[in-house]
Symmetry: C3
């Protein structure tokens, strides 16, 4: 298992936990908790695959994703309270996850022969739409429509990747672009950046 | 018309009615009532088809589904009040419907060369996601995330089918597995089983 | 650029504005405003493409749509208040847009070898589901489920198109059917037609 797979699995796991915690909060039953975990973890990549026409969608080819998501269930059961105090750790994995999901989504879209700007869009979709579907199913306005620089960090990382891979080897370009996502997200929180839109 | 088609059409009809009744309750207009009926009846199978890559989706090949769904409209119009007192009959058809939708969805997914666990998942998706989309469009938290053993009955029936068809003829395996779904659902209601998830 | 493209682009632009205005109303941030604009403008056609199996979906082939949608952003920023007083102009473009989206969606579905009644359905889906997804993401009950003769105007125009193109040249049939959509919608508002559904 190489480093990319490791981060991919970690991202999936963290996204699943984030869905399950919301489901628990809303008093969903066991099935609802699992569904929200699954949808959050794979929703973005699934939407990307459906839109670019890569079906059967990717998680159908590899059941490991399922076991990873389900492994979040006992974690949420036994450590529900402690997880909330682990916010910093989760934040890091989550940011790693969206960084990687962005770049992987972008690469896959380019491989389908689509243009760089569509690839950037699909990278962002891969990273953020799991959370959007999660919030819709939980009957909430999607968090990312109102809070912090989340999608913008993905956009920035995607552009950095397209630029750096022209002059640097692939793995270095990936590393730099994922680090850019993390950097933008941390900076945006430390400095309290927002993208509030207040029309005249 | 064989028995499977008959149950399939009955399931479609009952699902359509369940969507229309919610739309009437929410004071949707004629168009809203039709849309909610359609989406509830075909939403689960449509999502399955899109995810496994079976497009154009199945109801586009056979317009009978449409006429069956639309026939629910006069029923809802004239018997709106009586339907509510027919809950037992609806419950039976609905349970027959999810049982059959689960097995049909599972079989179709296997025919696409996907693994048994993906097929089980797609069987459950076929049976329950029509209701999930219905509730999202009606701006409610999906019922099945909080109430009774619904998806679990589908899961149980799907596993029974995969096991029994190894040793029994196809029609017998289908019959036994659909009966299992009904059995689990009736038992769960009689004995008040729940899958409440209360973390530490 | 021919007339069809011009109306298509105009429709896209007006739909994007309608999504952005709702996002601003709900205090979404810049990213949320863009997403809601995009989803409203291309959601219906995207759903149609996914259901009939035309992937990668159409806007991935032509980036002009993106630039048109994004150009709505400064308009919403600088003229947010004035737009509300321009309701009549918007209404006209919006009605032109749904008329054209209906006919274009219908034609594309027929080209995929699907039946006329499926093509009519996909025409309506193309025209109205962008607004449905917009309202779901904004956590509202979709407007078109409760208000005015919107989808019905599309249905009427679609039938007119299928009938007239049998006896008239294509461009004339398109023109007449789009005008029918506009006519029905204006009549329905002037005469206060509704499709309220009040069961016994």
């Amino acid at each position: 298992m190489n480093l990319i797979t490791l981060i991919d699995f970690t991202g999936t796991f963290v996204f699943a936990i984030s869905g399950m915690l919301i489901a628990i909060d809303k008093k969903f039953d066991l099935f609802g908790v699992i569904i929200l975990g699954v949808v959050t973890a794979i929703g973005g990549g699934t939407l990307r695959d459906v839109l670019i026409g890569s079906t059967p969608v990717s998680w159908m080819q590899n059941e490991t994703y399922f076991y990873i998501i389900l492994s979040g269930l006992p974690i949420c059961y036994f450590f529900n309270t402690s997880i909330h105090s682990l916010r910093k750790g989760i934040f890091l994995f989550d940011t790693l996850g969206i960084g990687l999901f962005t770049i992987l989504g972008l690469k896959k879209t380019l491989e389908f022969g689509l243009s760089p700007s569509i690839a950037i869009t699909m990278g962002i979709v891969s990273a953020v739409f799991g959370g959007v579907i999660r919030d819709v199913l939980a009957n909430e306005i999607p968090l990312i429509f109102r809070k912090e620089i989340y999608a913008f960090a993905c956009l920035f990382g995607a552009i950095v990747y397209l630029a750096t891979r022209l002059i640097l080897p692939e793995p270095i370009a990936m590393l730099i672009s994922i680090l850019s996502v993390i950097l933008i997200r941390i900076l945006s929180i430390k400095r309290n950046w927002t993208l509030a839109f207040h029309p005249h």
